[in-house]
Amino acid sequence: MSTTLLPEEVPLDSHRKSRSAQTRRYGFFPGCVAKESCKELFNSTMLLADKLDIELIELTAASCCGASVLNDVNRDVARVLNARTYAQAEALGLDDVITICSTCTGHMRAANKELLESEERMDHANSILAKFGAKYQGNVMVRHLLWLLIDDIGLDNVAKMVVRPLNGLRVAPFYGCHIIRPESVNGWESARNPHSLEDLIAAIGGEPVDYAGKTRCCGFHIQLEKDDVAANMVGQNMRMAKDHGAEAVITPCPLCHLALDSYQLDSAARWGRTDLPTFHLPQLVAFALGVPAEKLGLNKHLINPRNVMVERDLIN
């Protein structure tokens, strides 16, 4: 609701139509977690892409985005690693890199912003890329699959493609910090009061749940530092969601998924049992668009969404 405290800077290229969008061929950056502990996210993304009739071309030689941790060690390394990734996309003739993780989105956009805003930083990155014959020209934009669904496909069209509406399933959106904050880096929508996930939930036949926890932190990044603090952050947010009537959660971020899925049990002593199943964004959209539930890896979740889906008559 408030816009008074927002940063004045307008971020780059938030809604620019890419060449990739016109040809429906996108660079695809799955990120580490979708290739490791959340393979179901990778698989359901590819199944969703088929349904949407878009081509996601995986940047197989891309490195980790830096995961917000490399910055703690060195100021430049994440930026140059991401420049290498963008150069790979450009070499394939792609100008749009699609992510499926809030942390990747935020940190890759931050790196791109730093490169595009400063000739000095761009030259510095390219002087290192030159050692192995690569060059980043500065033509890439980084977006999350969520934004692609809204900007390129359009939610009206998504709604038309729905063959299995969610029957009013009450879904709590959980954005994940780095897809909205800092606003000077993301800025695709208001970080204070985003509604892209709510709009998407409604488009696929669910009922979005409004609660204050939706833009808060899941605590993933401090699980290994102090796990009880991280668990309490999960419990606090999931309590709010549950008290507002949520039956399930949807998140565009696999880090949030891991935190919410695996730490609700550990926070039960302080916040009570919540047991909200946490869907990866492409899982729930792909399901509504007709991908069979058993192909979505829902059994890989610690809190199995099966019961909730049976109650809503979504599966048998």
């Binding site: 490195s63 980790c64 060690v73 800092p182 606090q236 890989k300």
Partner: protein, 333 residues
């Protein structure tokens, strides 16, 4: 003239057991600030409404409060940007603080953490030299001016989700202010200051950027990262989990191009830390039971680093990644 309704949190710790709310109608132009609306309500309608304020110009840092669920300075927030269609504005005290009276809170925890920093210069030279001028180059000063803009309004502290569940965390403002002295060339206590703020849970920052809403653009989120880098550069308290985590992540990305999850968990907790390992075991077992973690990944992540090998298959052209790390002389241990 628009009719604005202020829905105000009311509580007096001296007499009330529980808070209540009052809705106060004020007739003022809707472009005035929330602070002016409160001033008007206090002057014209109910003199008992309590809130802190002084400069009315986002300089003194007194009037931070929660406005429609969003914490910020009342003097910097025009009513028309926050009121709903009925002109209603909900006003609460800053979260993460104990309310004292209405919108006034007990600021003690915030100031305690600030005082722990010893927020004054501590030069190394003898006392007899303290009268002399200490010069700072414009480049050295440039690093400090943004942080020096902090007005200690505690907006970031109120927004911090880590503070909300663990009040031991120093909070964004204190860490940003620690940076202000750590990076000051006139100060002689750099290492001691880094150690102090590390003990106050520097590494417990959750990277959530909630403090990026700083009304003075101090951006504590970025200063926290700067202090962590200073800790690693000066090798202060390197046996703690925070620095160990940062370095094992860096090492696995350099080795494989990817963040190798299992090795990161084991490397952060410490392979020979029996108690730590017992604590993460249930989580690991649950993840293996659901298929999130395969036994092979578990074994590879445990054994390979001991043999000096990458714990997962490196990405294609991983040499390029290593060239980047080497060119920038990134530490991995």
């Amino acid at each position: 003239m628009a009719n604005i309704k202020l829905d105000i949190f009311r509580f007096d710790e001296a007499v009330d057991d529980v808070p209540h709310r009052d809705v106060v109608d004020v007739d003022i132009p809707e472009t005035t600030t929330v602070l002016d609306a409160l001033e008007h309500a206090k002057a014209e309608i109910d003199g008992s409404i309590s809130f802190r304020r002084s400069c009315r110009s986002a300089i003194c840092g007194s009037c931070s409060m929660n406005i429609n669920g969003v914490t910020g300075l009342a003097c910097k927030t025009p009513c028309n940007t926050v009121m709903n269609d009925e002109g209603l504005i909900k006003i609460d005290p800053m979260p993460n603080f104990q309310p004292m009276k209405d919108l006034v809170v007990h600021m003690d925890p915030f100031w305690d953490k600030y005082h722990r920093l010893k927020p004054y210069l501590q030069p190394n030279d003898p006392d007899s030299d303290h009268e002399r001028e200490r010069r700072v180059s414009p480049d050295d000063m440039k690093k400090l001016v943004d942080v020096a803009n902090c007005i200690m309004c505690a907006t970031c502290y109120a927004l911090c989700p880590v503070v909300s569940v663990d009040p031991a965390f120093a909070g964004p403002a204190a860490i940003a202010y620690a940076y202000r002295f750590i990076e000051d060339v006139r100060d002689g206590q750099r290492k001691e200051r880094i150690a102090q703020i590390s003990e106050d849970y520097l590494w417990l920052c959750a990277h959530c950027y909630a403090c990026s809403y700083c009304p003075k653009h101090v951006d504590p989120n970025d200063r926290i990262i700067d202090v962590k880098r200073a800790a690693i550069k000066d090798r202060v308290m390197m046996d703690e989990r925070g620095p160990r985590h940062a370095l094992v992540v860096t090492k696995t990305i350099k080795q494989t191009g990817m963040l190798a999850e299992t090795e990161v968990v084991l490397g952060t907790v410490g392979r020979f830390n029996v108690r730590g390992m017992i604590k993460v075991t249930p989580q690991a077992m649950r993840m293996m039971a659901s298929g999130k973690l395969t036994p092979f990944e578990m074994v590879a992540g445990t054994a390979a680093p001991m043999l000096g090998q990458p714990s997962m298959k490196p990405i294609p052209k991983v040499d390029e990644v290593r060239t980047i790390f080497d060119s920038l002389e990134v530490p991995v241990s």
